[in-house]
Subunit: 479 residues, 2 copies
């Protein structure tokens, strides 16, 4: 029987723990022979598909239409918005040849889709009746990362969803930012992830945006993982791409835009990093590829009877959950427990001779490995209740870890000491870029922003320059 899982390895040697686990749990294969590109295997890709379904259902309920834009953008489209190209030029892949011919116009692989989409908006948006205009797509994006790449956390190709909207007024765009935020918060809640919702400093906002909100979550190695961003673009792109509408009063006005992106790849990384333990992955029920696995504990003499009973149990849970039964003959029940714990399945049902005789399968929950005998005719409701408790436990544990990762500090030396202890520093800051850069030169970390979900009142002096503190900011290392 398995012993209760610890998280020792995860916190003492995160890289090894993570890299081994994602390979062994069939999340991905990092051996693809092109740097920064990985293969999503069945367990990882199924989890991503489930996250995608949760995300897209929320987007559709709020009136976003699913579309699909090309993977490529021409150089002239990409170069139109000055800030945008400045922000992305060093990290795009260039396509300059097709077959044996040089292309007339160079293409890039999209790093994000503003410059692919917005040239089309004037065709689709003519009058106020076309607004609000809301579209989204789930696609891969490409960034030529020059830093060391890491599976799921820093890749040259990753999978994400991006939403893009246009509105008649600034107020409506502002409301849309909140809608985007709410959608992402609901997705993260299903994934049981805690995070800091931050407004990025002005000098670190999305290139071309008025302001950027971002969701930073903790990682066991102390680096924060950005799992989503929501941007108010104002009329910046509208002016560049000439996106105007005829208003009710007959005047032609620029639309106000928002966009938001959340990386399925990064969310999956956070799920594994937050909830996983030394036994393997632990998937939140809402997105687990398999929610319930039935394992016949088979002894030779009465093999067929137990197998039949296990199938019976499987059939009774299958209509209500994503379920599997492991009938493999070449490995032991113990090896099966170990395998499915690694894969992250929230509920295991053990069915042996005892269970068969009493008609009470043993239900084991993945996070605590607590065992419970359950009447077969009540098994569906019992599993639902256990899944609810498991989900709540993952949520609470993740939130507690977020809370204990943050500490208030009042000197640069303390910031450095805290970051080296894999934590996030909360500081008083005057808000100037000069101070942020000065801090960044002395500690290996950066100012990630100020809280966007709550009001934090600054007190005292800027940690860097000693001037009056204007905001409370968070400093961390980041992927």
């Amino acid at each position: 029987m398995s012993t209760a899982p610890t998280k020792r390895k995860k916190f003492s040697s995160f890289s090894t723990w993570f890299d081994d686990l994602v390979m062994e749990a069939k999340i991905l294969d990092a051996r693809y022979p092109v740097k920064g590109f990985i293969i999503y295997r069945e367990n990882g890709f199924h989890a991503i598909e489930n996250i995608k379904t949760i995300m897209e259902d929320l987007l559709h309920e709020t009136g976003h239409e699913a579309v699909n834009f090309p993977d490529v953008i021409s150089e002239d489209m990409f170069s139109k918005e000055a800030e945008h190209i400045k922000g992305f030029a060093t990290e795009v892949f260039w396509i300059e040849r097709g077959g044996e011919s040089r292309l007339e116009r160079k293409l890039i692989l999209r790093p994000t889709s503003e410059t692919a989409m917005y040239p089309m908006f004037p065709y689709w948006i003519r009058s106020h009746a076309d607004l609000p205009f809301k579209i989204h797509q789930s696609v891969p994006v490409y960034r030529y990362e020059t830093k060391a790449t890491r599976p799921l956390l820093r890749l040259r190709e990753f999978l994400w969803n991006e939403g893009h909207t246009a509105h008649a007024t600034a107020e409506d765009a502002e409301r849309q930012v909140q809608e985007g935020v709410n959608i992402y918060r609901q997705v993260y809640s299903k994934a049981c992830l805690s995070y800091l919702m931050l407004k990025r400093p002005d000098f670190d906002k999305f290139p071309g945006a008025e302001y950027s909100l971002a969701f930073d979550t903790w990682n066991p190695d102390g680096k924060v993982n950005q799992i989503g961003t929501v941007h108010n673009l104002g009329t910046n792109f509208a002016k560049v791409f000439n996106i105007m509408f005829e208003d009710r009063d007959g005047a032609r006005r620029y639309v106000h835009q928002t966009c938001y992106g959340a990386g399925y790849t990064r969310i999956l990384a956070a799920i594994i990093a937050h909830h996983g333990d030394d036994h393997g992955c632990v998937f939140p029920p809402a997105l687990a590829p398999v929610q319930v696995v039935v394992i016949p504990v088979v002894f030779k003499e009465r093999e067929q009877g137990i197998l039949n009973y296990a199938r019976d149990v499987y059939e009774s849970v299958r209509p209500s959950f994503r379920a599997a039964i492991d009938e493999r003959r070449d490995i032991t029940p113990g090896e099966k427990f170990y395998y499915w714990e690694k894969m992250g399945v929230p509920i295991r049902i053990e069915v042996g001779p005892r269970e068969m005789e009493s008609g009470t399968p043993t239900v084991v929950r993945r996070d605590t490995l607590e065992r419970e005998s359950v009447q077969q005719d009540k098994i569906v409701e019992m599993i639902r209740a256990i899944l609810d408790r498991l989900e709540e436990n993952l949520r609470v544990q993740s939130a507690e870890k977020m809370k204990e990762s943050i500490a208030d500090v009042t000197s640069k030396k303390q910031v450095a000491a805290l970051l080296s202890k894999r934590k996030i520093a909360r500081i008083q800051w005057c808000g100037s870029q000069v101070c942020a850069e000065s801090l960044g030169q002395e500690v290996t970390g950066e100012i990630r922003g100020t809280r966007a979900d709550i009001q934090e009142v600054p007190e005292g002096k800027c940690l860097v320059c000693g001037g009056e503190a204007k905001v409370v900011a968070y400093v961390a290392r980041a992927y």
Copy 2:
């Protein structure tokens, strides 16, 4: 009220009809400023998502795991199989630069994924217990087409599903070819598409395959549209990529492989081309983005009552169908009829004062525009019955058109005459490449292959050389 739809425009001026319709029905936007790349808009992308769901459900039921491979392949991986690179080298996009740096190893955008996937197979396939091995992915692929591009029919980027399998024996691979064929046939049946299932001539098979089966379907302009292919790869790729397994007897053997691909883009093209008429698209019920639309026929004086009743009808169909209600105030009911006919919605429900008084909404089916008054409490079962008839009608019409497109001919001159009449020629052929090429030089068309689903017995002489006919072949123009 609309008049019964004809297909005059579709058959007299296909290009204009098709290009206008796909834009107006929000299938796609062809104005994306990069040649050969299009935007899938909400109606088109939703249809593709539905086709994808049908396809992937069938693949999962037959034990294929969903995975996701990178979009890029390195030059050395791509070049390993000699036939394969010969077949695709002239039509790949090259990535040679990232940011300002030249890449150490050049990359291509995948034209198909054999050379991306098979280098990984030796990591995953070790023993007979790992076989059969079956994976699939739904992804975009890229081909640098030098011929004129056409929306959906000939693009530089298209969306498809590709399956890849490995087996212990040639017999098992052969069975897998049949499974692939059966999956595709089920998808085409849901799409109500007729086709010729052909074995491609040896000189036209997939580069690296033992043999290739293909599904060619008719297009109103007389060019056939290949909507899927299934290949038996034998041990060709296994030998190049060293994919071996330990058999039950301890010997190490090469795996036998198959692969298959079906373009969602091409299937959508065929659906529009087969079923569409001069009023617009006609979507088969199984994959229609909206299956039922409720239109309140509103007259000012009793507007709200009718609107409420229409919502009531909408609520009664919504749990059973993908349904919509069109409550727009700025256009007339007639304009709404026209709009939803164009969009291809199979069932329209009209709700006006008469319908409200009698409690019998009017149901109009898209293909024939036949109208029927239906008791509201029986509306779901009535719609189901009408959808079944509509589906069967689309299937029959498509099959009849396929049948009447084919004619037997016995001279090259007759072949040329038939092809210029937008038909497919059925000929007696000796099977030689010389004769195929000679024919190809004299007629603008090509030998597409021999029937793979039925045995056709050759009679008499080869149409080209006059030698003994060995097979019955089909000649057509193709996209």
